[in-house]
Amino acid sequence: MPNNKGTLEIRSLSKSFIVDNNSLQILNDINLTVHSGAFVTIVGSSGCGKTTLLRIMLGLENHYTGEALIDGKQIIGPGSDRGIVFQDHRLLPWLTVGENVAFGLDKLKRKEKKLLVDEHLKLVGLNGFESAYPSQLSGGMAQRVAIARALASKPEILLLDEPLGALDALTRMYMQQELERLWLLEKITMIMVTHDIDEAIYLSDKVVIMSSRPGVIKKIIDVPLSRPRNRASSDFTRIKAEILEEFHLGTEYPFAYAI
């Protein structure tokens, strides 16, 4: 595998929306480099522009100043070098699981398509479900199908927009392990937006912390822990405290120490 593919660079990027004739700055001077094969998470409170930033990377938002580059090339729209998993699984309800996974493979021959669909359903642990309809799946299963669909077109970068946000706590932790497994297996770049700090630390090499109005990158924190990570380890907790500090949720409990 040629392994410098899937590098993302954002250079002094700013974006504003026009609301009622007023310009509302959403993103301000964002600079971010995500190296090939890295897992990077963007965290921030709602309204910090993290989803907008991800949509720029995906190519769905076009009007901005600055640069957004993939492998040195300007992003000019969605492309098969990037895959996306949305928060709502966004499977097409009239297509079966297999047809949904094949949705991005429309230009391939039937045989190749089938091969890729089988491969990726197996990858996410859903072989045997190809003829089920999305309405018959649980939330976690539907999200697995969405991940399979995104990976089937062999992207260099997988973008994840709060992919586990709608799942219950246990399914969520299980799916985090699954995402890590897929990332280690596929060796592609993954960029995830989340508001779950534990999830960010569990999965990422780097946690990008954004703050709102206008959205800026406040800090980038490295997570140098070995994998698989222990959510209860002291290092994990220390990094969590460091991130929470940035949200002014740091542990300032003088009484706790006083007792």
Binding site: G77, R90, L92, D106, P134, S135
Partner: protein, 264 residues
Amino acid sequence: MSKKFIQRLGLKDKLLAIMVPLLVLAAWQGAVSQKLCSDLILTPPLTLLNTLVELAQSGDLTLNILASLKRVMIGFLLGGTSGFVLGILMALSPFLNRIFGPLIKALQQVPEFAWMPLIIMFLGIDESAKYFFVAIGAFYPMVLNTYQGVSGVPEKYHELARVFDYKSFRYLFKVIIPSALPSIITGIRLSLGLSWMFVVGAELFGSDSGVGYLMTWGRAVFQIDLVMAGLVLVGVIGFAMNLVLEIAEKRFLLWREPVDGRPA
């Protein structure tokens, strides 16, 4: 709604559903045989059945039903197809919507039968007039429901199509139409239902075949049983057409069935 209703009907409910019409028929037959009402005015059910059997034996039944069905199909295809195409175009192009939207809403207020004098003036009373009349009836529900379905395709599916690079016809047939299908099928059902009503109406105005013709002829020769046989035929055939479409709808919209109560 009626689809679920039929599903939920147990044997008991089915019996009940048959009981009421049977009771009405019995009361009807009773009223006539007890001379409460002249059988010249109100044909008793048994005589009616006899008339229908005679019609069937003479071949008139099949002939007239086929004549009506042919007009329905041609009119429905003309009106339904143009409604479908225009509905899609209007939903996808704000420009076309601004042009045709108000026009269609205004024309829709014109009662269907008010078209009749104009149609007769332009097209006479031959077959093409009947096709056109049926087509008008089929057009409105199709254009309105298609428009509604296509303009209601959620933004998230449009976005998905952009991400996976679906364009033009591929986009239309793989994303837009399937997403709008429930609404389109409702349009087809309403459209076909109205076509059937209007074909009978058109035939009342002057024709030499069809179920509507059977009824006007029965009235002209004062054969009430023919008129009533026509009524029964209109009802039964309309019911059967709706049933077939409901089954087709169920088949096509299999994916919409929520399995555990969650909306699909």
